[in-house]
Symmetry: C2
Subunit: 169 residues, 2 copies
């Protein structure tokens, strides 16, 4: 499957929504607009904030906004924000463990010496060719954003009365 994390997937969904809205919104509002559970939105935003992809404003009327124009945020940036450096194998991040041993058990005996570096660089380059603006624009969204938003609200309501009430307050 060669998957990215679900959390990373959420991050892209949230960032696309932010790129389309282009306003500072509270995490609660973003959760409502996208249908992603609030605690998950909070967790993702924390990671995006640390990586400098979004900016935050605390206090009343606070919220999150994009730190850069969508055109200059790439898929590689989003993935790296959630999952760290792009390293397909343990061989490449040679950060020695506490006991001085290398991450790859075989150490310098590993016959792959540096071959994975090439692969990693090419994958990262590929991921750098698609931007948030591309993701947000889309060739032809099946539904207009308004419909999407309305449908998401319905979904949020169905998630449970107590939570929906709390979120809608």
């Amino acid at each position: 499957m060669f998957r990215i994390n679900k959390l990373t997937d959420y991050a892209v969904v949230l960032l696309v929504d932010m790129a389309r809205s282009d306003k500072v919104r509270a995490a609660q509002q973003i959760a409502l607009d996208t249908g992603v559970p609030l605690p998950t939105v909070a967790k993702v935003m924390k990671a995006l904030l640390r990586s400098g992809l979004v900016v935050s404003h605390r206090g009343a009327c606070g919220g999150y906004g994009l730190a850069h124009p969508p055109r200059s945020i790439t898929v590689a940036d989003m993935i790296q924000a959630l999952e760290g450096p792009i390293a397909l194998t343990a061989c490449v991040d040679k950060a020695p463990h506490a006991d001085g041993e290398e991450a790859c058990g075989l150490g310098s005996l590993c016959p792959m010496n540096g071959q994975w570096d090439t692969v990693n660089r090419r994958v990262e380059a590929a991921l750098r060719t698609v931007t948030l603006a591309d993701m947000a624009a889309g060739p032809l969204p099946a539904f207009a954003p308004e419909f999407t938003r309305a449908r998401a609200a319905v979904l949020a309501a169905e998630m449970g009365a107590e939570r929906a009430g709390e979120m809608a307050s």
Copy 2:
């Protein structure tokens, strides 16, 4: 960290060793030569066999060999053999579940419609630019293959007397 499976990592190590040796060898011998545990070699080979990357010969003097020249086996092939089609998100393989619902919970409401397809195609293209021959050639292996093999044998012996004896028989 955007990793491939450890099993996939092993598969590449084994295939590189097979490309360098270019002989039909028993799984036991490959395990000895690479330092990868025998049961793991067997498991990886099963996947590689199903994908047609290696051929097998049963019975005495049997073993595994490459099904194609290293030049025509790409990193993408190896990853797909172990992990299935390259699909960074659950959105892309729209195979409906048993209950008729799509893999992505949001269904056609998902605002990503088709955007991930582009990313997936570009990543796969990148992975297709590096072949098994490239991985096996290497720019400059730190040690000659003979040293690697001898060292692997020592490692195998250290794994335990009973297993080492059984493997050396």
